[in-house]
């Protein structure tokens, strides 16, 4: 559904991304991993059309991303940036309602979707609170609810995609698990997920496909089992991990 084809991205003369290829299929969860400055956020920005690549092309649902109008794109793609800049005193509910801006689906349906999104991210009990008074983790969950509400349901025959830049960075353990399950659940509903994360074990839990980045290049792509190799991780992160198998999920679990 989303295809990045030989992407090069420069900041001035400095290469940020070099020859990056990436595919996200419909209903697939793809997690991008890598150390600071590896180009994870830049990759997501190219995928969302926020940055124009210097070479290569991005295709979304069979169309070149640059040719879609913002309105067309917003019906099927929602993006959560790393930080939120909102300083105006919206209520939590109003923030999530903004996620329905691209849609013309009527007030009733919007209200239903907003409520479902609020419950899914465990912020429904805050819905009348002022957004600016919330804690960092609560804000992050509200923004996640807004982004999910934007692509909550199928509009037409195009596949949907959410792009999330570190959606769990400010969350406690319980809510990290909640988000992992939520992303799995959204993907089962047919919504593709492309997300950057730092926690290898969380990534192993929720990903269909892992993309390991280093210095602007894709170092490895594959299932968690294929990518989370001790030697490979040491090379990329400069840390020695020991890999075991999680007794319940059967997925790789890394200890250092």
């Amino acid at each position: 559904m989303l295809t990045l084809d030989h992407i090069d991205l420069l900041a001035g003369d400095v290469p940020i991304l070099r020859g990056v290829n990436l595919q996200v299929a419909a209903a697939e969860v793809v997690v991008v991993l890598g150390p600071n400055g590896a180009g994870k956020s830049s990759l997501l920005k190219v995928a969302s059309g926020e940055l124009q690549p210097d070479a290569g092309r991005v295709m979304f649902n069979g169309h070149s991303l640059g040719e879609l109008t913002p309105a067309q794109k917003a019906l099927h793609m929602a993006v959560l940036p790393q930080q939120s800049l909102l300083t105006f005193p919206y209520t939590v509910e109003e923030v999530v309602q903004l996620g329905r801006t691209p849609h013309d689906s009527g007030r009733q349906l919007d209200a239903v979707i907003v409520e479902q999104a609020l419950r899914a991210t465990d912020v429904h009990f805050l819905h009348q609170q002022t957004y600016t008074h919330l804690s960092g983790g609560e804000k992050q969950r509200v923004q996640l609810a807004r982004v999910l509400a934007q692509v909550w349901q199928q509009e037409d025959d195009w596949s949907r995609l959410v792009i999330l830049d570190e959606p769990t960075s400010a969350l406690d353990y319980a809510h990290q698990q909640l988000v992992v399950h939520l992303l799995r659940e959204r993907s089962q509903q047919g919504c593709g997920v492309l997300t950057a994360m730092h926690d290898l074990n969380l990534a192993a839990q929720c990903a269909d496909k892992l993309v390991l980045m280093c210095c602007g290049e894709v170092r490895a792509v594959g299932s968690p089992d294929e990518v989370l190799q001790e030697d490979l991780l040491q090379e990329v992160f400069q840390v020695r991990f020991h890999r075991v198998i999680h007794p319940q999920s059967g997925r790789p679990w890394l200890v250092n």
Binding site: S48, E50, T69, P70, A71, Q72, K73, A74, L75, M77, A78, V79, P81, S84, L85, L86, T87, F88, P89, Y90, T91, E94, V95, L98, G99, T101, P102, T132, H133, L134, S135, Q150
Partner: protein, 341 residues
């Protein structure tokens, strides 16, 4: 704080608007009670005062107040900063410089003539406003779009430049011109005639009707520019449209009445405190509230020093500044209370 619903506030303001209009017809150097049916010479002269002086003036105050308040809403939304106001993009200072130029240099050329009821000073102010906004905009526009941060800095620089020009014209002006310049800068509604009010009503009224359609876009813009883009808003196009429209309406307003401070800054703030930042309510409510505020301020300006008249800019600033400071204080107290959140 508990919010008022949008509809309730609109209803309250709609009710207050005619009352304030009535009040500003009654109040002045002389209190004139309406609906006197006698035909004494006094009553006839009173009727003339109301019809020819107070009514156009009150209407002008309402139109200008609504314009400045809505322009303030738009700028605060666009810059995502509750302290923004139209003067940020150089409109006001450019208008001042243009007016001073015409007062000092143009007096010899044109005399005190008028063109369709609009003085050359007003035209000069409008041209100055348009020029400085255009410059600010050009400085901030790049191939990849308009940077709001650069625009802010360019606005400060161009305002300083216009300020320097203004000082220069004041420096070479004679005493009479100097008084004219400083009076113009304090703003005044005393020149309101029916002809001017009709001009203002058609131009500003028409343009103001255009603004509510940006409500959704501004709501999304408060999240951030790239967030708004991801919500399907064509941010770059909308930014240009809003800047042009605001420059246009503020240019017209300033050229008709001079600079009137604080209405554009304080009104959106007050309305936001009551109904929250949703622009679908904020734009119409601010327009109504701005109209009411400026009518009241104008009534004060005529009443306080009667039979003389306080410049309206002095009244709005004197009322606006303390209010604004108390607002800041409250906000800070709230932040401390929230533990720095």
């Amino acid at each position: 704080m508990k919010r008022t619903s949008r509809r309730t506030l609109v209803a309250i303001l709609m009710l207050m608007l005619p009352l304030c209009l009535l009040l500003s017809l009654v109040v002045g150097p002389e209190l004139i009670l309406p609906f006197s049916t006698t035909d004494s010479p006094q009553a006839v002269s009173n009727r003339v005062i109301i019809e020819q002086i107070r009514l156009p003036r009150a209407l002008m105050a309402a139109i200008i107040g609504a314009t400045l308040a809505v322009a303030g809403v738009m700028m605060q939304g666009l810059f995502r900063n509750p302290l923004a106001d139209p003067s940020l993009i150089g409109v006001t200072s450019g208008a001042s410089a243009g007016a001073s130029f015409v007062i000092v240099v143009g007096a010899g050329l044109f005399g005190a003539h008028e063109l369709l009821g609009v003085s050359f000073v007003a035209l000069g102010a409008f041209v100055g406003a348009a020029l400085s906004t255009w410059l600010v905009y050009r400085l901030a526009a790049t191939a990849t779009g308009t940077s709001v941060a650069t625009m802010l800095l360019a606005g400060i620089a161009i305002s300083a430049l216009a300020g320097a020009l203004n000082s220069f014209f004041s420096f070479i002006a004679d005493n009479h011109m100097l008084r004219q310049i400083s009076l113009w800068q304090m703003g005044s509604l005393s020149s309101a005639s029916w002809q001017r009010v009709i001009w203002a009503g058609i131009l500003l009224g028409g343009l103001l009707c255009w603004f509510p359609r940006y409500a959704q876009a501004l709501n999304a813009l408060l999240l951030g520019e790239s967030e708004a883009r991801h919500l399907g808003i064509d941010v770059d196009r909308i930014k240009v449209q809003i800047i042009v429209l605001v420059a246009l309406v503020v240019g017209i307003a300033v050229s008709l009445t001079g600079t009137i401070a604080f209405v554009g800054l304080v009104t959106p703030h007050m309305v936001r405190l009551l109904i929250g930042p949703d622009h679908r309510g904020l734009i119409p409510c601010s327009a109504l509230a701005g109209a009411i505020l400026l009518m009241l301020a104008d009534a004060c300006s005529r009443f306080l020093l009667a039979p003389g008249e306080l410049p309206i800019g002095v009244v709005t600033a004197a009322l606006g500044a303390p209010f604004f400071l108390s607002l800041l204080h409250r906000q800070r107290a709230q932040i401390v209370h929230m533990g720095g959140a």
